[in-house]
């Protein structure tokens, strides 16, 4: 079985390589936001990317949760980043409700995935989406970020009910 272990290792390394490539692609919008002057907490950005990489490497439902979580998380990430970059003010008008609405939309999107997926991967996907949303909204204050996270959770519940 020593021989089989070398194939196992090759398989895991291949998955790691693909997860790293996917993570590098996911890092591009974060870098772009930083270049455009949107303040992004470095530790949280690394945590989000690391989480995405681990979920991708794990595969199966975790992989799907990573993709859905990232895609939905980009909504509350991109909207406030675009707003602040375009308006060039620290907190553009209605930044709090905009973050909350973007979080709600992401949550509803995650809700339909939550219906099909197992609990643990769904939680991981939701956490990733919240983390991405926090990265976008945290510049407008901690309350805005917490409100957005709450809106994501409400959206997941609503999405689940709607697709049930």
């Amino acid at each position: 079985m020593i021989e089989l272990s070398s194939y196992r290792r090759a398989y895991e390394l291949g998955r790691l390589r693909d997860a790293a490539l996917g993570t590098a692609a996911a890092a591009v919008p974060l870098l772009l936001a930083r270049v455009l002057g949107h303040p992004l907490p470095v530790a949280l950005s690394i945590l989000a990317l690391l989480m995405f990489a681990v979920l991708r490497w794990r595969g199966r439902w975790w992989d799907r949760a990573a993709n859905v979580g990232l895609a939905m998380g980009f909504i509350p990430f991109t909207v406030p980043v675009a707003l602040s970059v375009l308006s060039r003010v620290e907190c553009p008008p209605y930044c709090e409700p905009i973050c909350a609405i973007a979080g709600l939309v992401a949550g509803v999107g995650l809700g339909s995935f939550a219906r099909e997926g197992n609990v643990a991967p769904v939680l991981a996907g939701t956490s990733l989406a919240i983390l991405m949303g926090v990265l976008g909204c945290t510049a407008f204050g901690a309350t805005t970020a917490v409100g957005m996270a709450g809106a994501v959770l409400v959206g997941v519940g609503f999405g689940r009910l709607r697709s049930a």
């Binding site: 089989l4 291949g14 992989d63």
Partner: protein, 169 residues
């Protein structure tokens, strides 16, 4: 490789692509004899064939997460085996251990020999495909079926065309 084994191998590779680790063992059990037998056909030396098969299988597993389940698993696997065999041949040429290599051969002659052996490997790969795929590839490579067969096929097709034409009238 019969249709059922091929389907099973495709399923195992699709599970591996999805991240299902429990498919490693069945995929290995199905792939090992197939890839080893293929490498033995291409490389006459048993030791080299074992090494090339090991190398090919490592590449198959390293790339398993990229396998597209809508594709035929056999050509996908054979592509790694062909590459591993080519590398083994090249290594052997460099060591000048190949019985077919004359020590006085210059690099151009060695390249020509490698090219010929590669062509043989491609033909062996095509032979392992289904008859329809093999024929399509042979025609695409400019290897037409014999003129008599071709004329017969055209004549049969023309007969069917005439029949269809009269029915339309």
């Amino acid at each position: 490789v019969d249709a059922a084994s091929k389907r099973q191998l495709g399923d195992d590779l699709a599970r591996l692509a999805d991240g299902d680790r429990s498919a490693i063992e069945p995929a290995f059990a199905a792939l090992r004899p197939f890839v080893t037998a293929y490498c033995r056909r291409i490389l006459s030396d048993g030791g080299d064939a074992e090494d090339a098969a090991h190398e090919a299988l490592l590449r198959v597993f390293a790339n398993a997460s990229r396998y597209d389940s809508s594709r035929d698993p056999i050509p996908w696997v054979l592509a790694f085996a062909v590459n591993a065999c080519r590398t083994a041949k090249r290594r052997r040429l460099r060591r000048r251990e190949d019985p077919e290599v004359d020590r006085s051969m210059n690099p151009a002659q060695q390249d020509a020999l490698l090219e010929r052996e590669l062509r043989e490997a491609v033909v062996a790969t095509i032979d392992a495909l289904s008859p329809t795929d093999a024929e399509a590839l042979r025609i695409a490579m400019g290897e037409r079926p014999s003129d008599a067969t071709f004329r017969k096929r055209v004549s049969r097709a023309m007969a069917r065309f005439r029949l269809a034409w009269r029915h339309d009238d």
